[in-house]
């Protein structure tokens, strides 16, 4: 196989009001089958996608938020969340759903996929990528 490219999916929209979030997640899960080096970034209202306890039952909409838990199994285990975006929204890392992956190189230790990063750090991470897709 040719050398894997570095992909970053940037998520900037809230989960329910538009289809960006669910469509973006589907693309990531499908794209993960192609064995590329994939990470995700959550910026602005995109951080609301990871809010825990989402329950859409009363609205008649499908709740797709449990599907984020599948990301770890697809080796998408770097989810960068911008700290400033959390702060502007009155959220902390504790408000986010716990998302983990199992590290086969470390005796299958369960590790967190969520990495809260400063804006400047995120800017460097974006710069490192080969391909960036926005949702």
């Amino acid at each position: 196989m040719s050398q894997a490219k570095k992909f970053m999916y940037i998520n900037r929209h809230a989960p329910c009001g538009t289809a960006y979030a669910v469509e973006g997640l589907e693309v990531v899960l499908i794209g993960a089958a192609f064995e590329q080096d994939v990470c995700m970034a959550f910026i602005g209202d995109g951080v609301f996608q990871l809010k825990q306890d989402q329950d859409t039952a009363d609205t008649g909409m499908k709740n797709f938020s449990p599907a984020y838990r599948a990301l770890g199994d697809y080796e998408v285990n770097r989810l960068y969340v911008e700290r400033e975006s959390l702060q502007e929204r009155g959220l902390t890392e504790e408000d986010l759903m716990p998302l983990t992956w199992e590290d086969e190189d470390d005796d299958w230790a369960e590790k967190s996929s969520i990495h809260v990063v400063e804006r400047a750090q995120l800017s460097d991470l974006i710069e490192e990528q080969d391909i960036i897709l926005n949702f």
Partner: protein, 100 residues
């Protein structure tokens, strides 16, 4: 008059425009992504809280739940209402303005 706002205040100026134009004693109902405007501790909390003495602000509870926002996350003074409460607000007000 009943005003509804369905956009996140972080993405759109709808809430700001609505609250700056709503007359004293109006009802403002936050629905869909508009419910993010009811969050306490956010960058918008202070100016939203400021108008609460002049207008009544409500947030639609099913839309809060869908987004994982519990009632204790709301700015004090903002009331969560059910779909029945939405209907009630629509009935008691003579006009409705949707700030799409």
């Amino acid at each position: 008059m009943l005003h509804t706002v369905n956009k996140s205040p972080f993405e759109s100026s709808s809430l700001k425009t609505c609250l700056s134009l709503a007359k004293r004693d109006s009802d403002v109902l936050l629905i869909e992504d508009g419910v993010y405007g009811a969050l306490s501790g956010s960058a918008h909390t202070s100016w939203v809280a400021e108008v609460l003495g002049d207008v009544r602000v409500y947030a639609l509870e099913p839309d809060l739940k869908a987004r994982g926002l519990s009632k204790d996350k709301l700015i004090p003074g903002i009331e969560a209402v059910s779909y029945d409460g939405f209907v009630e607000l629509a009935c008691v007000n003579d006009k409705i303005q949707n700030w799409l």
